[in-house]
């Protein structure tokens, strides 16, 4: 049996594969959009650093605890 690069199944499942592809692109768009909105809602983009997992002394306001 000859192994074809393009199996007939690829053609048959084209619609399904395209659908899954579009859903994944949509999902990426949603996560990206949510990230943009949530970061902008912080007011100051530098605040984003606060989401780091370790203490960041350099983002504590001046005059704060030393």
């Amino acid at each position: 049996m000859a192994i074809k690069v393009e199996h007939e199944m690829h053609e048959r499942r084209r619609g399904r594969n395209m659908g899954v592809g579009l859903l994944l692109i949509g999902f990426i768009g949603i996560i990206f959009g949510l990230t943009v909105v949530k970061v902008l809602q912080l007011g100051d983009a530098a605040q984003f650093e606060k989401f780091d997992h370790v203490a960041r002394p350099q983002i504590v306001p001046e005059g704060g605890n030393n």
Partner: protein
């Protein structure tokens, strides 16, 4: 040839078959009521976060539809109306429906929690649980009151929409829930009175078959009477106003008159005019729900201009 040729002869489900698992028509009602719940809430929501919130509620509702189709495939196969659904017709395997239902449920709940708040996500999770487990698994085959309690699942969306915006539950969202909850039984029983169903063959208890049509007519009028104070009470809250109240008075009067007309009839009268009254009351019940939620939206829009409300 090889094994592949065996697969070739099988039907391959396409995107449309998977989409049909999510019960798109039910989803459209869910989107509408959830959107109203979100828009009438006093806190503004960023449009994109609002969009993601509604999307999650819609996907969650679709997921519970897929779980219902997985569980009820045996019933669906025995009824004409549902025999063409993806699982009983063999286009989608039952296990696939279960997998899609569970997967989309998890996706929708987690994304809703991350995008909005935990209360909204919890309410969505509870709604899916209620529809898939309490309604589909426990009640549907056990009691003719299945419609009454199961209706709660369809009543949650505006409450979730409200929670997306406010992060809480309040009298307004509870009354929006109660409006759909009390509306579902008379709406559904009006339908049951004129549709020739084969629920009996499938072993699903329906009020028209277990208690008879006269008892169903009585139930329609009683539940409509109980619905009226809920609908009018919602008009007295902060999201109501004169426009809503005017719509509510007209629509409740119309629905009540229809329910009374149904109550006064007997089977002979129904056969004589081919269920004309029941069919028209069923249509009125659809306008009823749309008008109430539409009026809430109008009140919210008027509030933007300092109008509306009490």
């Amino acid at each position: 040839m090889s094994d592949i040729s065996i697969q070739d002869t099988q039907y391959e489900a396409n995107m449309g078959d998977y989409f049909a698992l999510l019960k798109p028509r039910v989803m459209s009602l869910v989107v509408f009521t959830a959107l109203v719940g979100l828009l009438v809430a006093p806190m503004p929501v960023h449009p994109f976060i609002g969009f993601v919130g509604i999307l999650c509620i819609a996907v969650g509702a679709g997921a519970s539809g897929a779980l219902n189709m997985w569980w009820d495939a045996d019933i669906d196969a025995r009824m004409k109306r549902t025999a063409g659904r993806p699982v009983p017709s063999g286009r989608v395997a039952a296990g696939e429906a279960l997998g899609i239902g569970l997967g989309l449920s998890g996706f929708a709940i987690v994304l809703l929690a991350l995008a909005t708040n935990f209360l909204a996500a919890f309410l969505l999770a509870f709604t899916i649980f209620f529809y898939a487990v309490v309604y589909s698994m426990w009640l549907k085959r056990a009691t003719p009151q299945n419609i009454v309690i199961g209706g709660a699942a369809g009543a949650f969306p505006p409450m979730i929409g409200w929670a997306v915006a406010t992060g809480g539950v309040s009298i307004e969202s509870v009354l929006m829930f109660a409006l759909i909850f009390m509306w579902t039984p008379p709406h559904f029983w009006a339908l049951a009175l004129f549709v020739k169903s084969d629920y009996g063959n499938a072993g699903v208890p329906m009020l028209t078959e277990t208690h008879g049509r006269d008892a169903t007519r009585k139930h329609v009028i009683i539940y409509t009477l109980l619905l009226v104070p809920v609908a009018l009470g919602l008009g007295l809250t902060s999201i109501g106003g004169p426009v809503y109240m005017a719509v509510a008075v007209v629509m409740n009067g119309w629905f009540l008159k229809g329910a009374y007309d149904i109550y006064r009839r007997d089977d002979a009268a129904c056969e004589a005019d081919k269920h004309a009254v029941e069919i028209s009351v069923f249509k009125v019940s659809l306008y009823y729900l749309f008008a109430h939620f539409g009026a809430l939206l109008i009140e919210a829009a008027l509030r933007q201009y300092g109008l509306g409300g009490w």
